[in-house]
């Protein structure tokens, strides 16, 4: 059994390896893909917000506006066989994993052919083919489940990785700690992205915790932790790739803190009047989509006409999806009593 001093020496070397490195090692068409997924997320979420305001989506609607780089950059580091446990502000990750706009619209509209057959809404669904396991409302609860999937990975030795997310507020929940305890001591192939967007509903981070960097919590578990700029999609991608590769090699879990800003309210009904306008203005200047667009333009990777055709394609996808979705009915009432147990 290693002594305490031996363990802490090992800790420092691992942290050194996680720091984000060369940003230009992704090929141009991969970078275009990143841009595409971020744009898709932005447009689809805007469409959902409008539907909510028109009374066509009931209950609630959430957006990850401002979080596009974090959602897309992280999921982009996964293989097809890896497991994704996204949160409600990571819709871009769903798209990276191969999810269709139609399925997300059916989910939000609660129609009979949604992946949950109308039994749950928003992004609370599971798609085993794409290996996407949606979150549930009590955030933090999916962490032990993601750890369990990583456990299965390890037991079967199939070299797959489980990636999940939690917020600056959700990270306070006890189940997160318990999940990390198990993942760390058992060296499970698990990656936790803490998306620090400065607000948990109306609670700012200075009312949530004292530490400066949430990635420092990794020290408590004896695993590496790193903080990255969540609005820089390439920085996010590279940090996540390093963590995913580590996990796949059997070296255990990593915590990545991705710092962004929640640009809209907690949900569509909340206009975030409690967030200082200056803070929002400051982060608006760092809009991940705008920034990346500029970089790609400067690097000659994207042209105006390519952007326009991409926009047109995305709009058509959304329109087509909505056309189909609106034709579907709600599930028949009697179905509510069925399907409690699997046969």
């Amino acid at each position: 059994m290693p002594t305490v001093t031996e363990k802490s020496k090992k800790q420092k070397t691992i942290s050194a390896k996680i720091s984000p490195s060369n940003n230009d090692s992704l090929k141009p068409d991969a970078q275009l893909k990143l841009y595409y997924f971020m744009k898709l997320m932005r447009e689809v979420e805007d469409a959902i917000l409008r539907l909510y305001q028109q009374g066509k989506i009931v209950g609630g609607a959430y957006s990850g506006n401002g979080n596009e780089a974090s959602a897309v950059g992280s999921a982009f580091a996964l293989e097809k066989s890896d497991y994704l446990f996204p949160m409600h502000r990571d819709m871009g990750a769903h798209f990276v994993k191969g999810q269709s706009v139609l399925n997300l619209m059916l989910q939000h509209l609660g129609r009979d052919t949604s992946l949950t057959k109308g039994r749950d809404g928003t992004t609370h669904y599971t798609d085993p083919k794409l290996r996407i396991y949606g979150n549930i409302s009590p955030l933090g609860a999916m962490i032990p489940v993601a750890v369990g999937v990583a456990l299965a990975s390890k037991l079967r030795n199939d070299k797959t990785v489980a990636m999940t997310y939690i917020g600056d507020g959700g990270a306070s929940v006890g189940e997160v700690h318990e999940g990390l305890m198990m993942a760390s001591v058992m060296h499970l192939p698990f990656v936790l992205i803490i998306e620090n967007n400065h607000y948990a509903y109306s609670t700012p981070i200075d009312k949530q915790f004292l530490v400066e960097k949430l990635s420092d919590r990794a020290i408590g578990y004896g695993i590496p932790g790193v903080t990255v700029d969540g609005t820089d999609v390439l920085e996010v991608f590279h940090a996540c790739k390093t963590a995913v590769d580590r996990a796949r090699r059997g070296e255990g879990p990593t915590i990545i803190e991705s710092v962004t800003m929640r640009m809209q309210g907690h949900a569509a009904h909340d206009n975030a009047w409690y967030v200082p306008k200056e803070l929002l203005a400051e982060w608006k200047r760092k809009d991940p989509l705008v920034r990346f667009e500029k970089k790609l333009t400067d690097d000659g990777i994207i042209t105006k006409s390519k952007q326009e055709s991409m926009s047109a394609d995305i709009n058509r996808q959304i329109e087509d999806a909505l056309k189909i979705a609106f034709e579907r009915p709600y599930p028949p009432a009697e179905q509510a009593s069925e399907g409690v147990f699997a046969e």
Partner: protein, 446 residues
Amino acid sequence: MAKIEVVMPQLGESLTEGTIIKWHKKPGDKVKKDETLLEISTDKVDSEIPSPATGIVTKLLFEEQKTVAVRTVIAEIDTDEKATVVSETPKAAAPAPKAESPKPEPPKPAVTESKPLSVTVSQSVPAAPAAGRFYSPLVMNIAREEGIGMAELEHIPGTGEAGRVSKKDILAYVQTRKAGGGVSVPVSSGGTAAPRIESQLKHVETGDLAKKYPAPQYEILQMSNIIQKMAEHMVKSKQTSPHVYAVHECDMAKVDVVRGKNASAFEKREGFKLTYMPFICDAVVQALKLFPLVNSQIEGDKIIIKKFVNLGIAVATENGLLVPVIKNADEKNFTGLARAVNDLAVRARTKKLTPADIEGGSFTITNFGAFGTMEGVPIINQPQVAIIGIGSVKKRPVVINDAIAIRPISYFTLSFDHRIVDGALAGNFLNTLIKRIETVDENFVV
């Protein structure tokens, strides 16, 4: 042109209304999809609302500053698309065939309705128990199945707590009964009560009477309306009609055969037991048609002949004697009479009779056989001129063809008003009616 309705959205799960702050368009204006149409304010947030379609605004249904419930239509847009209107609220898919009635075992957990396991709900509601003994649901169930009425139930010895009749006791009794013993079978449907009327009446504790008849040796009760009316009626009847009585025997053997053959099918179909009453009612009605004087009424020196039979059936309830009437009984067949008798008895005991139910009788049947009475001398129900009392059906030795036979016999007593009905008429009437009962076709399918 297709019409699109714009509704007040629900911008928050708990919100129920929104206020229109500003319309950005007026009727006749063009509007593009997602272009801001209006601004609203709610408890949680102020918001711009984008238009759901491209077209021309035709109607604004509410003014600015008006507060409106969510999902209320607030505006209409005419689109220039030929496409069908996008419905705001999708209908649920065509409902699946109705869920089957809940079974006891839960493969599907949702058992939403309570239904008793028996297919039909029995109509023969047993009347309130007598003499303070409690009968459990199981005992009542067995009693009903075996055709044991309340009167008979009271005579069954009980070995349960406080002397109650337990399952063991009633099952043992049923065995004895089958072997030929037991209390006489009551005639009416569902069993009649020997009600404890006293327990329903109000106590009188003050006044002169209380002094004259002090407690604890005396208890003073206030007569209810029903009892007062009954008291008045009975006295008046005796004062009005010179009562004479004729008693005849009725052999129920053939009726028993018909009852035996038809009992279960009848009960399954109708939901109540096949008793002697419909046979008796039917015979009475037919006899009254042949002897209309017995069905008539006296006004001074005139006799009012009635071209209909409104048959009164005396029912004992916990509140007293009631005589609801089967209107136009002469128009009913056997089944119709059976149903009418049962219906009146049930409604009488559940206090669901209307005043109309009690009026207009032209002849009355009173069944005191249910109480074990062999022969009685009933009082005429004014302004009728006769009443028939039915005694308990009991196996008796009779002489047939100079030999002794055992037959189920009931004594029928006709009390008649001798102002217009004489002994000959009474005797003929009774013979006719009894002959009809005694010669019922054994193959009669009820």
